[in-house]
Symmetry: C2
DNA sequence: CGGACTGGGTTGCTTGACGCAACTCAGTGT
DNA sequence: ACACTGAGTTGCGTCAAGCAACCCAGTCCG
């Protein structure tokens, strides 16, 4: 685990990064947002080491970004859900997604598209629906596979059933 | 330097984080955006180790996020400026700033405020001016010290002359 | 003229986070 | 009886980060 302070920093960006600036943290949040809620799903999807994933999940739960709920007993099995605090990271993720699409573009187009659930319109880098103009929040949007998504069967399945 | 790939990831968020997800990178970009352009300024302001700062600056220049320009000869001294690509990280920084202000608030209020240069209005988490409603970009806004800024003289000076 | 200071780094050493593989443990399926 | 699943934990080695010291060219101070 990273030392979680940027000594002497008084800025809120620094405080945000203490929590979500660690390697993998934002990717875990993104995956959970896309419906990957279980340990093994996350581990396989991200290719992260299991001990590191366990540490990150624990930290994100402590920070009240994720919530751990048992979905069965005997044996106990858990799922991770986003809290409001976690969902509110959506604008930051959208901004990073848009930046990545603009400056490290896939030749075939973006691998993932964010669309407004209500009207199906594309979502801008500020989280605004480009069709209907509404200012969106995490629950108003959905990720769908884009034209740049590799056609590997397992990946395609994994992406479409989310 | 972190290994700069998230193996197997095809998502643009992951590609963004390969570049700016490293510890310190976004804080360096923020500082440069606020007018801290020189090595020693950055090193003192951030409290980062000098070798790490040198490595980060080099990486950010390679990635075309910063540009290194000599501002004098004999001896050569350099300043770092943001490129368009670097300036376009502004929405992500604003989103993280707003998230930090909301969820790890200073008792006295935010230490830094972002305002629209043109009309002086506060800027929302999406980078929209709350007074005039315009969608802003990096150059349209300015950081000013907020009520939560500690009153240490040197910090106040450093913040006000940016 | 000698010494300290400034700006922009580089070098060497140590610590600690990350990646990998193996193991655990309870229950389930064949 | 054996393998498999889900959710981790443990041990080990490596590589990146942090710290302090050093370098170098030029400038300022007495």
């Amino acid at each position: 685990m990273l030392r979680n302070d940027y000594p002497g920093q008084i800025c809120s960006i620094a405080r945000s990064l203490e929590v979500v600036g660690e390697r993998w943290s934002l990717l875990i949040v993104r995956d959970v947002m896309n419906g990957n809620r279980r340990f093994d799903e996350l581990q396989k999807g991200l290719g992260i080491a299991r001990n590191v994933l366990a540490a990150r999940l624990q930290r994100l739960v402590e920070e009240d970004i994720l919530e751990r709920r048992a979905y069965q007993q005997n044996p106990e099995r858990y799922e991770y859900f986003l809290t409001e605090k976690g969902l509110d990271l959506w604008p930051a993720l959208i901004a990073l997604l848009a930046w990545g699409d603009r400056y490290s573009p896939n030749p075939d187009g973006p691998p993932m598209l964010i669309v407004h659930k209500e009207c199906g319109g594309p979502v801008s880098d500020r989280g605004i629906c480009e069709r209907c103009g509404k200012l969106l929040h995490a629950r108003d949007a959905r990720a769908i596979p884009g034209p740049g998504l590799p056609a590997e069967p397992d990946l395609a399945v994994a992406a479409s059933d989310r």
